[in-house]
């Protein structure tokens, strides 16, 4: 008979998860070394969706390059744009009007909600529950409609521009957001009933994919992944930008460091996002939505770094300027890239089912990793 399945005498064999695999949410490729069902090693292979955005940005002007960044972490497109706009503003030393700052932060938090919604649905799907996906998309759809009305697009909005936002909010924006927020709290309760409390789900999540505090710091993890391991790293708290310094919200920190902690951090972060929006939505000050900037932006010679908190963690925009209209070198420090590098540490020794649960709670967006 022909040879069936190559493996070593000890029964150790490798399988390829991805680039097309339901659990990788995109084109991530993991080479997994297995002993039976137990994972010995995970090696990520990246680059299936690498577009070299950094190189592209070198030939685009400071106004133009922002739209490309929506295509990195497409689930927090607003926040990516926000980071770039802030970085350019830092170089230009432009004061952004208060109205624009308020709008930006509300948009950021709506984006975060939408992103966490999608994560919640997709993660429930990873562990085998299909129905939550649709409930999550129902809420996400409402947010998208609000976005569409104000920004003109649903996913890659390109709404933030250096100096403010591209257009004023839609007249119905405030009313619609308030309506959404009012109904949304019940939805979180429903999510908890359907998924969080479920005994099967808790068993799948608890004690799985453990990441210690030291490792989280050493691997450069950020966002909910690091906060679930007890690292206080919320950029919104540590280095507040725009009006984040003025709003009241809690930095969610869990200390258990397992998948369930990461899950809880995100769920509770959704509540905090709601809280931020509630504080801001009624108090948007009157005024300009955009500061006066020159038609052609030129950054002074120097280096500018801006970090923001996306739904996945700390996004850094590093612009090296030679004084021209285009950046000399631009680097995006993407949260997913660092979080992914810790995957081997988390999933080692677990089962294949654990790997899926762990990857689900990492909330990987592959274009963000590959850029």
């Amino acid at each position: 008979m022909h040879q069936v399945l190559s493996s070593t005498p000890e029964g150790i064999f490798t399988i390829n998860v991805g680039p097309q695999h339901p659990a990788t949410h995109g084109v991530l490729h993991l080479v997994i070394t297995l002993n039976g069902e137990t994972i010995l090693k995970i090696e990520p292979h990246l680059g299936y969706i690498h577009r070299s955005i950094e190189k592209m940005c070198e030939s685009l002007t400071y106004r133009q390059f922002i739209y490309v960044t929506s295509r990195m972490d497409y689930l927090s497109a607003h926040i990516n744009n926000h980071a770039c706009a802030l970085c350019v503003e830092k170089g230009l030393q432009v004061e952004v009007p208060m109205r624009a700052q308020y709008i930006r932060v509300i948009m950021d938090e709506l984006t975060r909600l939408a992103s966490h919604e999608l994560w919640w649905g997709a993660m429930a799907m990873d562990v085998g529950a299909f129905t939550p996906f649709f409930y999550a998309f129902r809420e996400r759809e409402t947010i998208n409609e609000i976005m569409e009305e104000t920004c003109g697009a649903r996913l890659t909005m390109n709404y933030m521009v250096p100096g403010g936002v591209m257009a004023d909010i839609h007249p119905q924006f405030q009313q619609k957001v308030k309506q959404f927020i009012a109904g949304y709290k019940n939805k979180i309760a429903e999510y908890n009933e359907l998924v969080t409390g479920n005994v099967i789900f808790q068993n799948r999540m608890k004690g799985v994919g453990y990441l210690s505090t030291e490792d989280a710091i050493s691997y450069g993890c950020s966002g909910p992944v690091a906060r679930a391991s007890g690292v206080a790293c919320d950029v919104r708290k540590r280095y507040p930008y725009d009006v984040y310094a003025q709003v009241q919200f809690d930095e969610i920190i869990e200390t258990t460091g397992d998948s369930f902690a990461r899950y809880l951090v995100r769920i509770r972060e959704m509540e905090q996002s709601v809280r931020i929006i509630e504080q801001l939505i009624d108090n948007i000050p009157e005024g300009d939505y955009q500061a006066k900037t020159k038609a052609v932006l030129k950054l002074p010679k120097g280096e500018f770094y801006q970090r923001v908190e996306t739904a996945r963690g700390e996004l850094g925009v590093y612009i090296v300027s030679e004084g021209g209209t285009t950046p000399y070198r631009i680097k995006f420090r993407s949260p997913g890239f660092s979080n992914l590098s810790a995957l081997n540490e988390m999933a080692k020794g677990g089962k294949i089912g654990d790997l899926v649960a762990t990857m689900g709670t990492l909330d990987l967006v592959i274009p963000d990793i590959d850029r």
Partner: protein, 361 residues
């Protein structure tokens, strides 16, 4: 009797006609062929119906509309899908063990078909009332695991192999608690024959008059049945977010459709068995000696009773599937060996006491 056009009447008429015209031997052969054809047709219709039902149930639970384009209200959707699957090329991978690879889907269908034998669809309408009906069902049900292992191994695909191995561990362990739950009910009826079991529920179904042990046995049987049919939350053999499609990763076209069909047939069969054991099969809803009430209930045809009960249970299993996340393989085995098996054994003891003391009605 009440039902002049019952299944029983049709069966008797056909039998008489055949015997009258063809003589006993030929009539027997003709009957066999007829039954075979009936079972195949029944399978096809059932498959289409259950797939459609699953899609609609899941859709409404997921705040969607579900299939609604092909035919009135989408009723022909599954037929269209079947047509598509038939037209698709049935690929056999190069590295596969071709004989086993092609055999496996048929084996799983044959196993499903064989279980059909002792199930009573209506009053006196049964292919063969074997006196060990329940035992026969439990033993034939285990054949499907061979087919799954065969499919997984012969595919020469690591995902398929992992899925098959999971499935093997799962089905073999859940057979135990399903078996014990069945034995609990056999204690009550004191017969293995399906006919006897149904008739013993003449004045009330076992779920109502069997006290707590019957209810516990029912719950355990439903859990074990869900596991045995490889359905969520126990669909580890397929677990599409982990193993893409598990043991049938490499199958396509009609061979894949057979696996798919077999899953639904198995769901139907386990639900039918549960309906027979706990809800009296085709037996109408009777309460003790309320003659009037029982009489009204008898007007509803027995086949409706049987199918109604079965489909309610199928709905329950579908409800499970669209609500719960999937278990992990070690948790799955934990659940069986640390929870279901001890509980069902204790339950069996309890039932024995009840039966010995004759506490049941």
């Amino acid at each position: 009797m009440l039902n002049t056009i019952s299944f029983e009447a049709i069966k008797t008429a056909v039998q008489q006609w055949l015997n009258m015209h063809w003589g006993p031997h030929l009539a027997f052969i003709a009957e066999c062929i007829l039954i075979g054809l009936l079972v195949i047709v029944f399978f096809a219709v059932l498959g289409l119906l259950l797939v459609f039902m699953e899609r609609k149930v899941s859709a409404v639970m997921q705040i969607r509309l579900g299939p609604n384009r092909v035919g009135p209200k989408g009723w022909l959707q599954t037929s269209a899908d079947t047509l598509k699957l038939m037209l698709k090329e049935g690929l056999t991978p190069d590295g596969a063990d071709k004989f086993l690879f092609n055999l496996a889907p048929f084996l799983i269908m044959i196993a499903a078909m064989l279980i059909m034998v002792p199930i009573a669809f209506a009053r006196n309408f049964q292919i063969w009332d074997i006196n060990i009906g329940v035992l026969y069902i439990s033993s034939i049900a285990s054949i499907s695991v061979i087919a799954i292992l065969m499919a997984g191994w012969s595919s020469n695909n690591k995902y398929a192999l992992l899925g098959a191995m999971r499935s093997g561990a799962q089905i073999i362990s859940y057979e135990l608690s399903a078996g014990v739950a069945v034995i609990t009910m056999v204690m009550l009826t004191q017969s293995l024959s399906i006919q006897d079991i149904i008739l013993s529920q003449q004045n009330g179904w076992w779920i109502f008059k069997g006290h707590i042990p019957a209810i516990i046995a029912f719950i355990i049987f439903m859990i074990a049945a869900t596991a045995e049919t490889n359905r969520a939350p126990f669909d580890l053999a397929e677990a599409e977010s982990e193993l893409t499609a598990g043991f049938h990763t490499e199958y396509s076209g009609m061979k894949f459709a057979l696996f798919f069909l077999a899953e639904y047939i198995n769901v139907f069969i386990v639900c039918a068995v549960a309906a027979i054991l706990f809800f009296g099969g085709w037996m109408p809803f009777h309460i003790g000696n309320w003659e009037g009430f029982n009489h009204i209930m008898d007007y509803i045809p027995s086949s409706i009773w049987f199918l109604g009960k079965t489909f309610c249970l199928i709905f329950l299993i579908m409800w499970f599937r669209w609500t719960f996340p999937r278990l992990r393989i070690d948790q799955l085995l934990n659940l069986e060996w640390k929870y279901l098996l001890p509980i069902s054994l204790a339950n069996l003891l309890l039932m024995t006491i009840i039966v010995v003391l004759k506490w049941y009605l």
